[in-house]
């Protein structure tokens, strides 16, 4: 590959406050159009913004989690442009003095290496409303207008679509850990614009960047970047110049399209918002936010490796989402055996979530229930194969492990006299195999064990079966 791509992301995350950024309207999603509105967010004459303290708290937490330098004197600014979903004719955002700058996070590349991605800035702003279109015009709903957002702008530190996706996922994980964003991408809680350029490998000067807007899923980020890289390389190879422009990702055809905006539309005439005094944050506030930060994914992963003796891979999987790690930790606290809990999580629980296409919070089997099943395996009451059967039955019926084992009579037989009886029966019924075994074909042992298991309907304790068979035949 002769070319290298340079990628930066601008991620907009909706803060999960109860009320909007500058007014007391509800932020709840899915309400009837234009019912979560008031004089402030619908820009009635004379109305004034009033900063939501919780949004500031969430934004500072986020900035600290991304190792940013917090600006103790940040200022709100007006970004002026006309659009029907923007009733004031300007968006209150931050421009020259954002809330936080100079942060970073680590991602894991596909070669399993850590890579540091720089975060240029994090700033606060308000969301716009929503325009929809029908046959004779467009319709405007302002329910979303004024919902608090933070914009997280990365450095152009990513070189492949995979890295961009890993970064986006990592941001999402951290935001979930912080509990500052619902991160529901379908509801638009987390949105992403992508900056892509290409250059010849080894070059120091980046190519002309193109901004792709509204790339709102991990899959789309990958597709949009791949499309852009291909498109831009074609332009360069044809000896032409890439146009600096804003494009829109079309998820139905997986291509990006030029937005053909007028040139003048880009003069936003930013200036400090005179209706809001500078946002002054004192040290004690910042310290408080810092000391009350929850354990973040990287720290948690380290701890899982250390105290649960998990592999790097297992720990990464189990900390990839806050709720998964929470489930896992609860399971370990009930069961005790961290390694088998990890196996159960990865082989059964995550598989079931995948099949049902649900998040772990909606999973029908709480850790308590699963723990009793795992404990039955560990104590030898049932074997692994039976346990998997019971697990599926539990999901289907919501009965407890004990109830299913009881109902189906699946309890493992560990009584030597009962097993001895079956063993004797099998020896009697398979004289030729017994003969061959005794003449040296030891591999037949497995076959004989299988017969015993079958006869016991899988309930016999395999270890005891083995032991008794050996004793009888030798």
């Amino acid at each position: 590959m002769k070319y290298e791509s340079v990628i930066g992301l601008e991620i907009h995350s909706q803060l999960s406050t109860k009320s909007k950024m500058f007014c007391s309207c509800s932020t709840s999603f899915g309400k009837k159009q234009n019912t979560n509105i008031c004089p402030v967010c619908s820009a009635q004459p004379g109305s004034l913004p009033s900063v939501n303290g919780k949004a500031i708290e969430y934004a500072v937490k986020t900035a600290l989690a991304f190792n940013c330098k917090i600006n103790k004197n940040s200022i709100f600014a007006r970004k002026n442009y006309f659009y029907p979903d923007l009733p004031k004719g300007y968006q209150i955002s931050q421009y020259e003095e954002p809330l936080a700058t100079f942060g970073w996070i680590n991602i894991t590349t596909k070669d399993n290496l850590e890579k540091k991605i720089g975060i240029t800035r994090i700033h606060l702003e308000e969301d716009a409303g929503k325009n929809t279109h029908n046959y004779d015009g467009s319709l405007v709903d302002l329910n979303r207008a004024g919902v608090p957002l933070i914009e997280i702008v990365s450095e152009p530190d990513m070189r492949t679509p995979e890295e961009a996706v890993a970064y986006f996922k990592k941001i999402r994980t951290v935001l979930q850990y912080l509990e500052v964003c619902d991160c529901n991408m379908e509801e638009g809680n987390l949105r992403c614009d992508v900056n892509v350029s290409v250059m010849e490998k080894g070059q120091k000067v980046f190519g002309t960047k193109v901004e792709v807007k509204n790339v709102n899923s991990f899959r789309f980020v990958e597709k949009a970047i791949n499309y852009e890289i291909e498109r831009q390389i074609k332009i360069v190879e044809a000896g032409e110049k890439v146009q600096q422009e804003t494009r829109l990702f079309d998820s139905s055809s997986n291509i990006t399209k030029s937005m053909r905006k007028k040139e003048e539309a880009n003069d936003y005439r930013y200036f400090p918002e005179p209706d809001l005094i500078p946002l002054v944050l004192d040290d004690s506030f910042i310290d408080h936010q810092s000391t009350t930060l929850p354990e973040l994914p990287d720290k948690k992963k380290e701890r899982f490796i250390k105290s649960f003796s998990l592999s790097n891979y297992d720990a990464a999987v189990l900390t990839s989402e806050k709720d998964i790690s929470k489930y896992y930790e609860e399971l370990v606290s009930l069961v005790g055996d961290a390694k088998s809990c990890s196996n159960w999580m990865q082989t059964e629980v995550l598989r079931a979530l995948n099949e049902q296409k649900i998040e772990i919070v909606k999973f029908g089997m709480p850790p308590k229930q699963l723990s009793s099943l795992i404990k039955l395996v560990l104590s030898g009451e049932i074997n692994q194969g039976t346990a998997k059967e019971v697990f599926n039955e539990m999901l289907a019926t919501e009965l407890s492990a004990d109830q299913i084992i009881e109902k189906k009579g699946l309890k493992q037989i560990s009584d030597p006299t009962a097993i001895e009886k079956i063993v004797e029966e099998v020896i009697k019924e398979s004289p030729s195999q017994v003969e061959q075994y005794k003449s040296g074909k030891v591999a037949l042992m497995g076959f004989l064990v299988g017969l015993v298991m079958k006869k016991s309907k899988g309930k016999a304790n395999p270890a005891i079966v083995n032991e008794l068979l050996k004793k009888k035949l030798n």
Partner: protein, 496 residues
């Protein structure tokens, strides 16, 4: 009974003694409004204010009730009163009904004062003569060929012509003090942040401040007291607890006169040079005389950067205004052009057809000073020179406690005299705008009349949040010069 001679405390007493009713007061003013329609002071007159007065009378005005209960007033039509049309004197809001109360209106409503109507103004408070109204110019009641001053011309006229007991305007660069001066009444532009701007239609957010107007200092103090104080809905409104100016003025007179014996008043001679009329200069000398006799000392102070104030002001005010007025877009409320084939047409025709010339000129100017390539040389530069002006005042206040100067270089000019030349019109504000830029309080008081019988006015500028010094001095001036106060304008041909 001559209601127009009475102050608010006197009327409040009469209401409690049942010597007068709120209905009598209200219909008295409503009649005068009707008989003086040609002054064009009101955009909307609230006939049902009589019903409100009636319910107040029925309930009876009690001793403990707020002093303003049952007393009629008017509001500039850029302050929102829920359920009442608020036009800002613009075609773009011609039919707009406010859907919430401004904090000012809410507090007045809570006090039981009776709102007579919404007064005329320069469109979006942009103007110095009140000739820029969609509803036509306001007329100066002292001489009908002259302007009343702007932008709160209707409010000033409602007080000076006896069409309300007291009123409120907004002052961005002198819009309360200038019309009050041209009308011979008292006014105050408080420290920025004293009065909530919530529900006041913004012109320039970092400069706008509500200001009361009245025929005497007691009324002014009461009108000031009721609306000032912290408001969580306006983050630029100060959290400093309010102190009652009326209570302060009514306190032991001897002690506050004594506390003033050593106070110094600065005169910025370097500002009061070119273009100041002889009558105004004479009046300034007379005010100095009065104040000297009361024991004040005078010093010369310098505000060197005030020579840039006009330019700084027109950059900052128009820059902010260009953004503040973006919400009038024909989409969410207000005038929508029929010429709306596409979105761009809807925007530019709605705004182009409904904003008046002066508003458009200022939007253009404001858009220019904020635009790419010009922001640093204009908007950002102006904000820095603004700091220098504020510092000049701070330095001056090291040598004095208050500053005295005229409100305007001239008395009320003729209608149409300056409309063709925006820059000359802007120069009317040359003495008032520095105060807004520095966010200081300034109390305007009437100081007699010029040769032609038009009122002259002075202003006392104070330190940040030191309104009490201004009120005290003004009260003392009123005692020495009662003939300057409680005047009701009556041109020969006006109907009483």
């Amino acid at each position: 009974m001559d209601i127009l001679k009475y102050s608010i405390p006197k009327i409040a007493k009469m209401l409690r003694e049942k010597k007068i009713s709120s209905q009598e007061l209200t219909s008295f003013y409503l009649n005068r409004i009707k008989n003086n329609k040609k002054l064009n002071a009101y955009i909307t007159v609230l006939e049902d204010s009589l019903d409100i007065a009636k319910s107040i009378d029925n309930a009876g005005v009690k001793e403990k009730d707020p002093v303003l209960k049952g007393i009629p007033y008017s509001l500039k039509d850029n302050m929102l009163v829920k359920g009442i049309r608020t036009t800002c004197a613009s075609k773009i809001l011609e039919n707009y009904t406010a859907n919430y109360n401004s904090t000012v209106a809410q507090r007045l409503n809570d006090s039981g004062a009776v709102l007579l109507g919404k007064t005329n103004l320069d469109e979006f408070a942009m103007g110095s003569s009140n000739e820029n109204s969609f509803f036509g110019p306001v007329i100066n009641p002292w001489n009908h060929k002259h302007v009343p001053g702007g932008s709160s011309g209707g409010s000033a006229v409602s007080v000076s012509a006896g069409l309300s007991q007291f009123s409120y305007g907004t002052d961005t660069g002198g819009s309360v003090r200038l019309p009050a001066c041209f009308n011979g009444i008292a006014s105050i532009k408080p420290t920025y942040g004293r009065i909530s701007r919530y529900g006041i239609i913004a012109f320039a957010s970092s400069l706008d401040q509500v200001g009361p107007m009245a025929r005497n200092i007691e009324d002014l103090a009461i009108a000031y007291d009721v609306v000032c104080g912290p408001d969580s809905k306006d983050q630029t409104c100060s959290i400093k607890a309010k102190e009652s100016m009326y209570d302060f003025l009514s306190s032991d007179k001897a002690s506050f006169e004594k506390s003033f014996s050593k106070k110094k008043i600065g005169i910025p001679r370097d500002m009061i040079k070119e273009g100041v009329s002889e009558d105004v200069l004479k009046s300034l000398d007379e005010s100095i005389n009065v104040l000297s006799k009361m024991g004040f000392d005078f010093v010369d102070v310098k505000i060197p950067n005030s020579k840039y104030a006009l330019d700084v002001y027109y950059i900052i005010a128009t820059g902010e205004a260009s953004s503040n007025l973006s919400r009038y877009d024909g989409i969410h409320y207000g005038y929508r052009s029929k010429n709306n084939k596409d979105l761009d047409a809807l925007y530019s025709y709605s705004r182009g057809e409904a904003f008046g010339d002066e508003v458009q000129r200022r939007i253009m100017l404001g858009t220019f000073v904020l635009s790419a390539g010009y922001y640093d040389a204009y908007f950002s530069k102006a904000a820095k020179v603004r700091t220098l002006i504020k510092n000049d005042f701070n330095n001056a206040f090291n040598d004095c406690d208050m500053i005295l100067m005229p409100v305007s270089p001239v008395t009320a000019f003729k209608l149409g005299e300056k409309t063709s030349d925006p820059l000359t019109m802007y120069l009317s504000d040359v003495f008032t705008i520095s105060v807004n830029l520095a966010a200081l309080p300034s109390l305007g008081f009437p100081s007699g009349f010029d040769k032609t019988g038009l009122p002259v006015g002075m202003q006392l500028i104070g330190k940040h949040f030191d309104e009490s010094s201004l009120f005290s001095a003004a009260k003392m001036i009123q005692e020495k010069k009662p003939e300057w106060f409680n005047n009701v304008a009556q041109e020969k041909d006006s109907v009483k």
